[in-house]
Amino acid sequence: MAWTTPRTWVDGDDASLLSEMTNINSGPLSPLRYGTGNYGRHAFTMFRSTAQTVTNGNWSTIQWNAIYQSGSFGVTPITATNVVTCAGGGNNYGQNLEPGVWCINTGYQAPTTVAQYQAFIGLLKNANYIELDQRVGKTATANIVFPNISSLVQLVASDALSVQVFQYATALTIANYYSPVFNGFWIRPN
């Protein structure tokens, strides 16, 4: 359920007290709750657990195929999606984000076994770049760079977020339990 502004009380409201006590849990407090009876801000963490190839010289959208599950997150796994969308509220974390301001983080590890000199990661809202990180590695020497983004993003209904990476010099295979990652948590309503 989406955020609603807390009610202003007036004296004599006691007849509606019980219903309002119920409503406040499903309304104003719902963005601070996950699942049923658990509280904490809406949050998601996704990663990629199988290989995805990023070809040289092309932007590739990361296909998120796993969502991190822990007891404290209380989330439902999603499969084979490359965007998270804001569909006007709800508790389907990761695919149906609460409108408002989100703290979003993403990053990945560029290859360690090949010589390369540039690696990019881009955060997109509605298919438009809103933030970019570019890392430059040492030419002709195998090394590691970790492009990453940590920022605030404002979302309204139907906004969609996605992540793209770009690689010069060689094809890249990204897959392990730590990279790439895409996560975020809700801060406040609009």
Binding site: R7, W9, D13, E131, L132, Q134, R135, R188
Partner: protein
């Protein structure tokens, strides 16, 4: 609206409008819909001269809840507490070897969040970006800014690439 310590009810106590408005309206709003938060970017390139420190300007405000903006270069903690700031800076340069540092500054902590960035040129003049974030304790109206410094032979150009860098964001996390 300021935070009010949560009320403890006792048996037989009259539940009146004033108490409910404080407990269930104002305190809930304080922790959610009234949280100060901003995101800003800059629309044109800025130069960083050799040996100089540039306080980065952000001329375009994407959102500013809680009136954080003081000027294009200064953003204030409009509510005292713990704040999280993040910035993304990108530069173009074409020297053979150079570096720059990016810092987020507040009067309380100085350069509380700082990162150096080294670029080894490949001869084609590409630049680089860096992203950093940090958490700092702020008194009311403490002002934060982003600075870029470098010590190489040529001036750097701080990119305004389309609409996605440089970026400066911040939000209030909790009371002190």
């Amino acid at each position: 609206m300021a935070w009010t310590a949560p009320h403890t009810w006792v048996v037989g106590e009259l539940i009146d409008a004033a108490t409910l408005n404080t407990e269930w309206r104002d305190n809930v709003k304080y922790l959610t819909s009234d949280i100060p938060a901003f995101r800003a970017r800059h629309s044109v390139n800025q130069n960083v001269n050799n040996g100089a420190t540039l306080t980065v300007a952000f001329d375009t405000t994407e959102f500013d809840f809680g009136s954080c903006k003081v000027s294009n270069t200064l953003w204030q903690a409009s509510r005292a507490g713990v704040w999280r700031y993040s910035t993304t800076i990108g530069l173009t340069f074409d020297t053979t070897y150079t570096f720059f540092t990016v810092s987020v500054n507040t009067p309380v902590a100085g350069n509380f969040c700082r990162q150096s960035f080294v670029k080894r040129n490949n001869g084609t003049g590409e630049g680089g970006t860096t992203n950093l974030s940090g958490v700092v304790k702020c008194a009311l109206n403490d002002q934060a800014s982003v600075q870029v410094a470098h010590g190489d032979t040529n001036a750097l150009v701080l990119n305004a690439v389309t609409a996605y860098i440089p970026i400066f964001t911040g939000y209030w996390m909790r009371d002190l």
